[in-house]
């Protein structure tokens, strides 16, 4: 077991390295560098004004030199200064943004899990009744809607028209921090984020539970006279949950991606928004650091999921 973990961690580190090289190259291939992002095309300024800045940032060095310099500094924990934000150190900036993203994602995930598993169980148990059909239709609708449109309509409908929720941001500016304030800002984006995810979880839960319910041991339990409720909860659901857990783990990466639309529409100060802004402004230090951290977290989550799965199901051989 330990050998497996160590090997996976080592491979994970190599992949992180490969990831940083890949992103570095892609960024340099993109037309326009951070200094180009500074120049407002409408303002009468000249490029030579910024030439000194370019040299100071080391952007005129050959690519391998730039990359190795970045790597050396990163290994010491120094991720440099943000170009776009006039010298804010990058690492605290990025770490500041991880919290809100994790908060949003986990809230969305929690809602999705609760709603998805609950409706999945309900739908499987009441198979082919009206409940099942309408829940399934709803789940199809959830999966078929484009994320950004739902976000836009949700913002417009619930915030502007109905005024049930604030129109964006994480906290009300200027007010002292309160959990209630945070929750009121969180509820709408988290719910919208969870729509597609809960629909997917529901469908998988339903399919998995249906598969389990047709197994012999369930028939045996029923034949033994166990109450239907306990048949479902104690025997069926526990076994049906396993593949659904893997699914949840493997779709966290997708959830990060979906969060970007939500963060963009709601101006939620998370990593997604940070990345979009940084790429638009070609803020290389921020992009590199954020990519490294995101990549590390995704790899970590995958590793944890695999370990949990292997530990829980004794039939899985860790090859």
């Amino acid at each position: 077991m330990w050998q497996y973990i160590i090997r996976r961690v080592a491979v994970g580190l190599l992949m992180l390295l490969a990831l940083t090289v890949l992103i570095f190259l892609l960024l340099r291939l993109t037309p326009g560098d951070p200094i180009d992002a500074y120049i407002n095309p409408q303002v009468p300024m000249s490029a030579s004004d910024l030439e000194a800045l370019r040299v100071r940032l080391g952007l005129d060095q050959p690519l391998p030199v730039q990359y190795l310099a970045w790597l050396r500094a990163a290994l010491e924990g120094d991720f440099g200064y943000s170009i776009q934000r006039g010298g804010t150190p990058v690492l605290p900036l990025v770490l500041d943004r991880i919290g809100p993203t994790i908060l949003l994602m986990f809230s969305g995930l929690a809602i999705a899990i609760v709603v998805g598993i609950g409706t999945g169980i309900l739908s499987a148990v009441r198979r082919n009744t009206t409940t099942d059909v309408s829940l399934s239709v709803l789940s199809f609708i959830g999966v078929s809607s484009p994320a950004f449109l739902t976000a836009l309509l949700g913002l417009y409908g619930f915030s502007v028209m109905l005024d049930w929720a604030p129109s964006g941001g994480m906290l009300t500016p200027g007010e002292p921090f309160s959990i209630g304030d945070l929750l009121s800002h969180l509820i709408l984006p988290a719910c919208l984020l969870s729509i597609a995810h809960s629909a997917m979880i529901m469908r998988y839960m339903r399919a998995s539970l249906l598969e389990v319910l047709s197994q012999d041991y369930v028939r045996t339990a029923r034949a033994k006279g166990v109450r239907e409720f306990w048949v479902i909860v104690k025997h069926a659901v526990r076994n049906a949950l396993l593949p659904v857990i893997t699914l949840i783990g493997s779709t966290i990466g997708i959830a990060i991606g979906g969060a970007i639309f939500i963060e963009s529409v709601f101006n939620w100060p998370g990593m997604g928004l940070l990345m979009v802004n940084a790429v638009t402004r070609r803020d290389y230090p921020v992009i590199m650091c954020a990519t490294l951290l995101t990549g590390a977290c995704v790899i970590l989550v995958n590793l944890l999921t695999d370990i949990i799965y292997a530990a829980v199901d004794p039939r899985i051989k860790v090859s």
């Binding site: 961690v9 992180l16 993109t30 037309p31 326009g32 560098d33 951070p34 180009d36 992002a37 500074y38 120049i39 407002n40 095309p41 409408q42 303002v43 009468p44 300024m45 000249s46 490029a47 030579s48 004004d49 910024l50 030439e51 000194a52 100071r56 776009q84 934000r85 006039g86 010298g87 804010t88 900036l93 770490l95 500041d96 943004r97 991880i98 919290g99 994790i102 915030s159 502007v160 604030p166 129109s167 964006g168 941001g169 906290l171 009300t172 500016p173 200027g174 002292p176 921090f177 529409v265 709601f266 100060p269 928004l273 802004n277 638009t280 070609r282 951290l293 977290c297 970590l300 590793l303």
Partner: protein, 526 residues
């Protein structure tokens, strides 16, 4: 690496929660606050706090910093801010500034030592200042006494005062001892800056908002409101949603969104000149546009009046040259009326079929708004009618700059762009002068027309206003005749304020100004 990431994550979570819980509670609930999207739109520069690295966002910066001189409210003249009087010597080389009595936010007095420090700091490229090249003409700054500063230039520069309007005064007693290069990357600017303006800095919550509090000892009296908050928005639409929901009281809005506020008595729509001339840029290094008749045909093929009416709702001024200000536009210009038949004839004469007839010409722009998308679609259809096939390509600003500053002319034979043409008409020089071809300047279309260059340089050198206007008129007529660009129009820009705001002034100045907005007078009804 993962463990450190994990540990840092947990730390980050704890730090986030702890700092959130220990945020100093704001002042008593009954204080007056104005919240707005001051950095929304083209005049803003969200997230930037270093006044010498700012290319825009001066409206907000001028609520807590002040320059020596500033534009007045309609941007027609330069008046004093931290200097009460400016006198220029006969040879236009010495500027004498008499300074007002003012205090810094930390209580120290504002003196000429601060002026000397600020100007030398701005001139020093090591500080990361973007004004270093423009201030290179400064030979010396003398401070005969605490309330007088004398700046001597190496050669006359009629635009000197205009440049000074964007240079904020900085405290010598706090920054003078520090290394300029360190200050370029310092977080002083975004955590504890000190200025002389009517509001003083309280806090910045990363990518969310900036909070300022009223400065009691402001030289013109304590501001009427207690707090000023600048909220950042990912895009103008989000700001509009917040405005409609009553969470903010002011923001810049796109022209299309401004229409939705018409007739609504809870809001006031502010319309102003953008001072940006939108033009179709011909790349002078590409053979397609070498013949003047082809450029004329392009102008005749486009129904500018119809576009202004339908797509801008009438809120744009037709431009026959680079300017629309009445005192600089002479009589008798060719208005290039909409005449597709004439365009076709001109193209036939010039032999367009051989030059560019069959090609699809890439048409580059950095504008990404739906309105400009519609405008370009309309123009594309109009040009296709006469046989010119263009294909619009909208990219983001860094990509655009990366392309047009390079020598890959085939990627940008045609552009749609905007250029600042005021309040000082000399602003167009960087776009039209062959001495300003990249990397020296912003003449991205590689324009090299001797007659135009001569006219511009003569007009820039003239210091008397009346004579200068006549010379700028000559520049205008040369532009109209020789078509270095296809000048289109100057559009209006809009802001919307809540009806609760009183004595609030805003105008869509390029880069946000700065201009005299009198933030100390802004008030809000309960």
């Amino acid at each position: 690496m993962q463990r450190r990431c994990f540990g840092r994550l947990i730390m980050a979570g704890i730090v986030l929660a702890a700092s959130a819980l220990t945020i100093v509670p704001a002042m008593a609930q009954a204080n007056k606050t104005i919240t707005g999207g001051f950095d929304v739109g083209p005049g803003g520069f969200p997230g930037n706090f270093h006044p010498l690295q700012a290319t825009a966002g001066f409206t907000w910066l001028s609520t807590y910093y002040e320059p020596l001189v500033i534009y007045n409210q309609d941007l027609s003249e330069i008046v004093g801010a931290l200097s009460s009087d400016v006198s220029v010597s006969e040879d236009s080389l010495r500027y004498t500034f008499k300074l007002v009595d003012a205090k810094w936010h930390d209580g120290e007095d504002f003196t000429s030592a601060d002026v000397k420090f600020s100007l030398e700091f701005a001139k020093n490229p090591a500080s990361g200042s973007l004004f270093a090249a423009r201030l290179a003409d400064i030979a010396s700054v003398e401070t005969p006494d605490e309330k007088t500063a004398i700046v001597t230039l190496a050669k006359p520069n009629p635009a000197f005062l205009a440049i000074l309007t964007q240079i904020m005064m900085l405290p010598e007693h706090l920054l003078g001892a520090k290394d300029p290069a360190e200050l370029a990357n310092s977080d002083w600017w975004s955590t504890e800056p000190v200025g002389t303006g009517p509001f003083k800095f309280v806090r910045y919550v990363s990518d969310q908002y900036v909070e300022l509090a009223a400065f009691d000892d402001y030289r013109n009296g304590r501001p009427k409101v207690d707090r000023l908050i600048n909220r950042y928005f990912a895009n103008a639409a989000a700001a509009v949603a917040a405005l409609k929901a009553g969470e903010i009281q002011f923001t810049y809005v796109e022209p299309d969104d401004a229409k939705t506020f018409e007739g609504n008595n809870d809001f006031r729509v502010i319309e102003g000149d953008s001072y940006v001339i939108n033009y179709i840029g011909f790349n002078h290094k590409v053979d397609l546009w070498k013949d003047l008749r082809v450029r004329q045909a392009v102008m005749h093929a486009i129904d500018r009046k119809q576009i202004i009416e339908s797509l801008y709702g009438g809120a744009a001024k037709l431009a026959s040259c680079g300017y629309v200000a009445p005192q600089i536009v002479p009589e008798g210009l060719n208005d290039y009326a909409y005449d597709p038949e004439k365009a076709k004839a001109l193209l036939a004469e010039a032999g367009w079929d051989q030059i560019g007839g069959g090609q699809t010409i890439p048409w580059l722009t950095y504008y990404n708004s739906p309105q400009v998308g519609n405008v370009m679609a309309a123009i594309q259809a109009m040009l296709a009618q006469v046989g010119i096939n263009v294909s619009p390509r909208a990219v983001d600003v860094p990509t655009y700059n990366g392309i047009v500053q390079s020598s890959d002319f085939d990627q940008f034979p045609l552009v749609y762009a905007g250029a600042q043409n005021g309040p000082n008409p000399a602003s167009l020089n960087v776009n039209l002068n062959p001495a300003q071809i990249p990397p020296a300047g912003n003449n991205i279309m590689r324009i090299d027309m001797p007659e135009l260059t001569e006219a511009i340089e003569k007009a820039m050198a003239e210091t008397d206003t009346a004579k200068a206007n006549a010379l700028w008129q000559k520049v205008c007529s040369v532009m109209n005749e020789q078509l270095p660009w296809g000048s289109m129009w100057v559009a209006s820009r809009y802001g919307v304020t809540s009806a609760k705001l009183k004595d609030f002034f805003w105008t869509p100045a390029p880069a946000g100004g700065p201009y005299q907005a009198y933030p100390e007078k802004w008030d809000i009804a309960p």
